[in-house]
Assembly symmetry: C2
Homo-oligomer: 203 residues x 2
């Protein structure tokens, strides 16, 4: 397993490379990638070697090949299934944004308690009541869970997902969760992003 | 100015410490903070010295004092004003979540183009049409902008904010933005967070 920082960089490179591809840019030099990501040329070249490229390319690396190389490292070849719990403002934004973005990461089910949402399809994904998490996680082979419920339900939601067999959680509620050692937990709080902006924006 | 990684750690410590305070925990040891954040005791002790604490405390550091110490480093004492552009699913989630969380970071205005939203108060904050960004940014002394508009409007939104005088931007649209050297840009893409979960969750 690679270090988390390396996984992050590869993910970020891939986003940039997909952008390049969407804008018709077919080749990229390592120094361009380094500039985009404010990384040193040394770091980028090391990552490029990790991707399996060797030697300098005269007109740069083929963007499509680099995207595929990163995919071979980052993605699980059979793909992984994702469930989202809590389809409010944030959950809806994530569902709409993420759907279709990464072929190897599929949102296969979403969960809520609101009867106006459960039993319906939202953005083409079926919304189930949270009480069905045990059977739906098993039936749909859900590997990863995204938690976007109100803070007071964060812990019980995580427990429900873990008891159902989920081994990876992305928690947006900013409530600290205690998870077993064999569960990978990632959290994000926009406050930290904003505090960085606030700190560096002032003269 | 501190390095970005240090600012990030201080912000994350503060979130943990605020959580401690809300749960009645008044003292914390450096090794506890290290554990919470999966950092080495060495790193945490270095950060604690940076905060102005010296020497070991027998029953741990006073949580409230540490929160204040971080505030003296991270916050601008007069506070900074924040505007959010694009009050859809993501913008609304951020507005509701962030309001009141950090006394020195105040959302003073929000902007949209949707006539059902502009001219009204949402979560106690006045929603203006984006055409008024130049005058409202100046009148309300907005320092920082959060961009949560659809991707096709990301670039023009950033340009509008920068022309109006904003020097710090937090961009959630995942469209790459080119900003002048004196503008600080932070971006976030949940895909990178999810790809980390996906990578580390599988056996
Ligand atoms: N990490 C960040 O930067 C950040 C940013 C914004 C919001 N948030 C947090 O994200 C969460 C969602 O925010 P939001 O604005 O979308 O809230 P919201 O109130 O709009 O949505 C919450 C949704 O969860 C559902 N729900 C309620 N109880 C549930 C339960 N027990 N199980 C499953 N679903 C349940 C509700 O019916 C609703 O659909 C909150 O915890 C909020 O604090 C975090
Ligand atoms: N970074 C991430 O991880 C992440 C996650 C989710 C969504 N997103 C992105 O965030 C953005 C917002 O997503 P959403 O689900 O809230 O979308 P949305 O469609 O629900 O909301 C967009 C809002 O912007 C307003 N708007 C449209 N044109 C505008 C303009 N020119 N100026 C100002 N406001 C304008 C709309 O009226 C609406 O209120 C999108 O770009 C989406 O791709 C990013």
């Amino acid at each position: 397993k690679l270090p988390a920082k390396t996984v992050e960089r590869l993910s970020e490179y891939r986003r940039t490379l997909i952008n390049c591809m969407n804008h018709g840019k077919e080749y990229i030099y390592s120094h361009e990638l380094a500039q985009f990501h404010h990384k040193t040329a040394v770091q980028v070249r090391r990552d490029i070697m990790l991707m399996g490229f060797s030697g300098v390319q005269r007109k740069g690396y083929k963007v499509k090949e680099m995207i595929d190389a990163i995919g071979r490292i980052l993605d699980y070849k059979n793909g992984q299934n994702v469930g989202i719990v809590g389809i409010g403002h944030l959950g809806t934004a994530i569902l709409q944004y993420f759907t279709g973005k990464r072929p190897k990461l599929r949102v296969v089910a979403i969960f809520d308690v609101d009867e106006k949402k459960t039993g319906r399809e939202i953005n083409g994904v079926h919304c189930y009541h949270v009480d069905t998490i045990p059977e739906v996680v098993e039936r749909e082979n859900i590997d990863l869970g995204i938690i976007t419920v109100p803070p007071e339900f964060a812990k019980e939601t995580a427990e429900g997902l873990i008891n159902a067999g989920i081994r990876g959680i992305l928690n947006f509620t900013t409530v600290p969760l205690n998870v077993p050692e064999d569960v990978y937990l990632e959290e994000y709080d926009m406050i930290t992003s904003l505090e960085k902006v606030a700190y560096f924006a002032r003269g």
